[in-house]
Symmetry: D3
Subunit: 252 residues, 6 copies
């Protein structure tokens, strides 16, 4: 089984290698996993606008990975930017969004989950994501750390403290019994277990569960539904030959 | 009051002029309305993938229109592609999505509405849009004509017939008491009144109601909520100087 | 376009003239708007019981306005008393309820709205109204000022202060990002903009938006759905000749 | 225990006596039940407009029954016209709406119920009533016989046949496992058992269950919640002395 | 009318006799009620695990009561353990669950109810029960006293105080306007009226309302729906002769 | 990683060995999986009553497996009988219900899923299960094959044909885009891929996905939430020493 993790924005090589190492470590021994990325996009995603900026170039990458024979691609941002669009343009390779997947795993473990997201600006879209994931009825709350993505890793200890303090509020005030980390950078800090030990509720790391869900779905012989994510008609009806032709430039 | 209607894709000049004329005709006499567009994008929107392709360049256009002093911009596609992102990057100019707006007007007129969309590939996203619009509980059904967008205008009569036949099913089988046309090209065919006369239920033309809603909201002194659609933190905290800097190219 | 605003209870002439002046001021130049009323009814509406008292005589007024050729009537109470009944007995003239309309405009602007109503006794019916309006899923909360309707205008400053303080709670505690004033007397105090400037979220004035929605719907060629608000069968089947005959007195 | 059944419209004396006899027959031996009425109102209720016409005079009757020491009043129309208003103006006497009560008993017996109502014009308000009753999530469907209220009793056999045929559709197509008769005149035809024997699902007769629910609630020492149905503030704060003063005539 | 109240666990004889006396006292004079029990099971029910332990032996008891000609059986635990299973194996005798029934009566009296349950360990299952009862949309909250069932009666005064204090919070913080006691032992303390007098909202005693609902339903000629609670196919198709044969022991 | 699959009823040894072989085949190479069972219980599960019969003895088995150091136990019935109770009595070993898990995986792959269950008698409980799983909002329908569990394997071809025909209806009439097989015996027929190839939508085999979900959750370091599934208080507070003491026999 071959799985690709795609960073939908700009990230330096060392960090990508560090993440690949962690993913390899987490994977079942039957599974090969690589990290790949794009050459342009947002520096981090803290708004829907930045999500949208990331999509066209990342979608192209996803499309190429399918051609290369990957069994699954993990969209490396917990906002799952453009997941539906990417599923429309793939027919053989499963595309997994770790944001929705984490929430879907949360309902396997408890009755009510809270999402801990990075900034206030991503709270509304996290509620929306839970709806897209089909599990909004079990969402207790979304709470923001208000630490910018690019600063999350600068002070690991402070980040853990903030997560614990906000997670505790979610448990006590919102009746959450499962917590979901709402950002891949939080995920790759590998702190879910620490928080779990302190708060005594499951804490879902989207970086790990994105991989594990991909393994489980591919291992079950399952793909995203092409009835739900239909191929764009211009492609399925042969009106364009290549994906790129869906994007037109005037007078060209 | 100055309102701009933005075509988020490639459209020839004659059609844009024809649409501008219609909009001017529909507008209250206190209102100035123009049609503008972008130089690249999808030829038509029949998938989420094409929606995503249209967003970055259209968002830039929206951003410029605010600078030019427009009171409102209408996003000229009934899928409202990227509406939340566009509302994040504007602070003075209202941005209206005609898809959501049409559904929101539908609940002003009846108890259950059905959306008549172009192709099967846009059905799922129409359900999602009703949820985003906050009116999913009153959505009776989404039904597709299965006429490609670019062929809708080729045979006006056939399109009307199809809408009447499918609308009748929505009324009889799904208990719809209001119909919403789910495509701007359908809207600019100006056929809502014809269908309304035949089926005896309100038929909402998104091209017209997008304008009317913009007039009503601006006329009420209202903007989209910046609490709901927060400015991207990198901008609001001054980490970047210009919108363009949110998009980075590696090694540049 | 001719629009009538109907006060469904007892109000002195000066206040009616003041309101008419404000409405004329708010209207597009293409629109003629008048204020009219009834000769009996509740002094103000702070309970469902008072709503019910207002309906029979106001409905008769609405019925007459249709005969006089008005394009729309605005029911001048934010509880929309008897709106469905009034829509049943009109077939050519749109009837608009400013309570529901304000909530429906709220979902055009943000993700979650709170209604600020007058007294605790109108809280439950405001929740019910949001359901009738089809937008209950986006209602964050209903909060009462606990200032009687007839005292709202006595101390404008105090009313504004109360609205600001309670609105702030709705934003902070209930995650509201849009506020709706739930009373026409609040609306005609014309304080929405003041509150909006302080709280930095859209504040919807039902007195203004009731008018603007009527303009938008009539301007779009739309009526309330007769499929949703059916004519009483005794009328549509010709069993009675006049509306008045639906009300019978024993042995008469 | 003393219970009054109030007909909220015009009905001839014989029919009222017949209904009283049936109710006495159904009541537990500890319970006294009478039928009473009003001297003016609609001849039958087949629209919201007629519901509203019935409320003011019926409410006055309800108010008087409380003064006379009744333990409960049953509002004799399955649309429960003005129930909330009537609960606002009573503080010692329970007021029961047989429409909502029937639906609430339905969820005691099965998973999904359908309401069989008289005419298409009462379908939408039946859905609304299920929501008010708090049991809309279990409502399978509302289906109309399309027999006018005043003709239901003219041909008992035909009415039964129609109910059986429409009830069967509700069971087969809408997955209903309980049926609710949505009209008091249907109820007093005393046909629920016949239909039940044919269709093999519980069939709820609102005329009987309205009484039984009143007995059960009074027997449990329970009243409707005055926190939910608050006394109109002008009364509770002593601004008016009598209920009648809430209704004002100009220049009087 | 003959009604049996079944204690689904171990209870001493004196307490069973005390409860029978209370039930006889509450019953209408036309009704005969007895208390019966089982010879093995949990000492009290404070978890789903204990609920499940109680079911097989109690179900057998229920099955026998039907054979003895009872009109209704009340399952004597407010968690309604195994109610659906017991309804599957009865065809002539109504089985009532006092937990769901109390919530269903709650929606007859107000808009939002809170359940006061014994321990934190029963909170989640109370939410689930409200869903099963079809009235989850009106559930304001579930709150735990955190007094073990077997200690509730030891200090009546303290229990009342705790209920009052927690009930007040439900009213003030969760907008409850009706309270439901979520445990039969609480019910047989007969304290609902005391709490009601202090908090001024209806307080539902499941021990009393379970009986009253049974009387009302049997008195209305109604049974639980066999369409909703189907007889196990092995029985209805004659594959086993006796209920006991559904339980098989290996090599026997 | 050690995973046990527990058959909660009577099954012959050959079939258990066959299933173990299949599970071993499906498992990742890092995973050890065994099949185990109980010595008494229902012959198959086609009703809630049979579910309840299976729980006490199976729960004891689960409890023992935890003591033996298993990382996860899969409850081998797609009704997930007693899952919450079993999670209450385990603190170190994850317990997975394949019914809920299959539905939770379904929302990872599409927008709307249908469950294909064995008999009409399990339809209602399948809807309930989707609610417990937190994904009811995406459930399109539950449809029964009406083939008894014990006959499913007798004619594999006929079973496939029935599934295809009913699955097609779910796709066409209920807009399902994912199918879930609602029975472990269906699962171990290993026919999901066949159906998938014919119907072109993902078909979820609960036997396989129960395993895959267990692997994914254990592999992510996650347990079911003890905040959601609390240890019975008598155990956590040390009032009983052993699980068995929760079940009392009179006079013993």
């Amino acid at each position: 089984m071959k799985i690709a993790y795609v960073v939908p924005g700009i990230m330096d090589k060392e960090e990508m290698q560090r993440r690949e190492k962690m993913l390899k470590n987490w994977a079942f021994s039957d599974v090969k996993v690589i990290v790949t990325g794009v050459s342009e996009g947002p520096a981090s995603v803290e708004s829907m606008y930045e999500e949208y900026l990331s999509i066209p170039v990342t979608a192209k990458k996803i499309y190429q990975l399918e051609k290369k024979g990957y069994d699954a691609a993990i969209l490396g941002c917990a906002g799952d930017p453009g997941l539906d669009g990417m599923r429309e343009i793939t027919t053989e390779m499963l595309v997994v969004g770790p944001g929705q997947t984490s929430m879907q795993l949360a309902v396997m473990l408890g009755n009510r989950f809270s999402v801990l997201t990075v900034t206030d600006s991503t709270v509304a879209s996290s509620y929306e994501l839970a709806h897209k994931a089909g599990v909004a009825s079990n969402l207790a709350s979304v709470k923001a750390l208000n630490i910018p993505v690019l600063e999350l890793a600068q002070n690991r200890e402070e980040t853990v403290e903030k997560i614990v303090s906000i997670g505790r509020k979610a448990i006590q005030e919102d009746r959450a019994d499962v917590l979901v980390l709402g950002c891949m950078t939080m995920g790759f800090l590998d702190i879910a277990e620490d928080v779990q030990n302190i708060l005594k509720v499951p804490v879902i790391n989207p970086s790990k569960t994105g991989l594990k869900a991909a393994e489980a779905l591919v291992g079950s012989g399952l793909m995203h539904s092409k009835k739900a994510f239909m191929t764009p008609p211009k492609i399925s009806e042969g009106k364009v030959d290549k994906l790129d032709e869906l994007y037109v430039r005037k007078d060209s």
